[in-house]
Every structure is written in structure tokens, then in C-alpha cells.
């Protein structure tokens, strides 16, 4: 459907970001993956502030919850409160299985919540299935201005 989608991965663990890249390397979508490691950076990126003035606008965001500086839920809340950013699908991708994290994420408007699998094969297939659903099946809003 889309030529090359832009994925923003917000996660402070470079090892996990690298795993996501590995997982998507074999996918037919050829998504471009950008990553930021903390909540403040994430919002600067999304609002095109400071050094991110020319940053792309992601088609999909994968958001971890345990981030330094501003945590995942704060980033989520900010995104969904902004009329501009709220249409970007946010997939919470976190190791947390705490009900309070899940509940709060949905309350703040997360599009979905996916637990990071502990097993490599499942991790890869989960990441691929996230990309596949949002890029092949879901209709994403056009990039407005």
C-alpha cells in the first residue's frame, strides 16, 4: 500500500531497538526506522523542535513505557492531546504486563498494547505482525500539514 513507511521507535534500550530493526529487515515493507531513547527527545522529534526541525513525521509509533526523563505514558498523553499528532497510531510495545500500565495506556488513547515477548522467534513475529497490520491492513490518515 504505502511506498516506504516511517516508523518511530521510542525505546531507551538500544538492544531492543536493534532487535526491532533485525525483525523488520526481512519484511517486504522496507520501512524506515528512526529511534529515540527518551521521552524528551521523542517529543522534540514529534514537534519538529530544535535539531529535529526537518524530521519526518512517522506513520506509526512504537512506544516503550519505561523511558528516562519523561516516561512513555507522558509521551502518549502529549501525542493524543495534540490535534496534529493524535492521528498517528501509537502501539505501546513494552515488557510491562502490569494491569495498571495497560489500563492507563488505553485511557490515554493508545491504539493498542503489545507485550514484548521474551522469546526471540515470538519477538520477531510480533514485530512483523505489528508492521503488517498497520501498514497493509489499517488505513492510515494521509500526512496532513
Amino acid at each position: 500500500m504505502k511506498t516506504a513507511a516511517d516508523l518511530l521507535v521510542i525505546d531507551d534500550n538500544p538492544a531492543d531497538v536493534s532487535l526491532v530493526r533485525e525483525a523488520l529487515a526481512g519484511s517486504k515493507h522496507r520501512s524506515r526506522i528512526t529511534s529515540v531513547g527518551d521521552g524528551v527527545e521523542a517529543l522534540a522529534f514529534l514537534y519538529h523542535r530544535d535539531k529535529y526541525v526537518d524530521a519526518i513525521r512517522p506513520d506509526l509509533v512504537m512506544l516503550d513505557l519505561n523511558l528516562p526523563k519523561r516516561d512513555g505514558l507522558a509521551v502518549l498523553a502529549a501525542m493524543k492531546a495534540s490535534p496534529d499528532l493524535r492521528r498517528i497510531p501509537v502501539v505501546i510495545f513494552s515488557t510491562s504486563q502490569l494491569s495498571k500500565d495497560i489500563t492507563r495506556s488505553y485511557e490515554l488513547g493508545a491504539n493498542c498494547y503489545v507485550s514484548k515477548p521474551g522469546n526471540l522467534t515470538e519477538f520477531f513475529s510480533t514485530v512483523l505482525s505489528i508492521e503488517e497490520f498497520w501498514l497493509s491492513f489499517a488505513c492510515l490518515p494521509a500526512q496532513g500539514e
Partner: protein, 158 residues
Amino acid sequence: MNSNEVDILLVDDSQDDVDLTMHALRTENLANRVFIARDGEEALDFLFCTGPYSTRSFEHPPKLVLLDLKMPKVDGVQVLKQIKGDPRTRSIPVVLMTSSGEEKDMVTGYKLGVNSFVQKPVDFDQFRAMVKMLGLYWLVTNRPPVGSGPANLEGRER
């Protein structure tokens, strides 16, 4: 089926589409806990535990609402607005299905907080593939908000 043990609430006035959807879900073993509402009003009664569904409880929402956009009486956007506008139901994942793929519908939907938007394919095979993907993604990959549906066991074999 216990109305408090529903995984998917399918809201669609088109019998053909409903049949196709159920057929696809059945092949994935997901059809057992699907509840079908023929229009927006019935869907709202179901989700808000009113009218014929007053025995339902807010503690056991469905894991997914598959909502057709164009329906008589109360249309998809209205239903979505009510669901996402009420704290008791706001967290329920809602996927809006449209035949048209019109931009403005999407914008409205995302503004109201729809979880995702899909376009119903015309081709039968593609339709089936989409329903299958919807079922797998929203019921298996996704973690629905807690309190939805029957308790799941952690399948540990020892």
C-alpha cells in the same frame, strides 16, 4: 453464549458481510465469542448495558468492537463517539470498517480516538484475509484492557 463473555462485538447491517466475517473468524476458531449487533442502537445498548442488555456488566467488555461505518438509525461515527466519550467504555478497542475509504471519515474517526480504521476489501479472499488478520492482531497480539472477557490461563505445561 454468555453476554459477559464476548470477545468481539460485530456491528454491521449487511448480512453478506456478517456471513463472510463469521466464516473467516470460524476458520481461526474465533467465532465462538462473537456477538452480532445489526445497527448502532443495538450496539450501544449492548455496550452500555441498557435495554435488552441490562444484565450485562461494564466489568466484562468485549476485547474488540468491529464497527461498520454506514448503518441505519445510529451510524458508526455516532457509536464511536459514544464509546470513546464515556470513561466506562473509552478503553475498548474499536476498529472502524468502511467500504469507501473516504479521507474525511478517517479524519473524524481518528479525531474521535478510533483505535484503527480498515477498508473492507471487495474481493472475497482479501476480505477473509483481513478478517483473519483483525482477529489475530486484536485478540492475540494485542493485550486488551484488563477486565475484558473471561480470564485467560497462562499456558504453562509442567
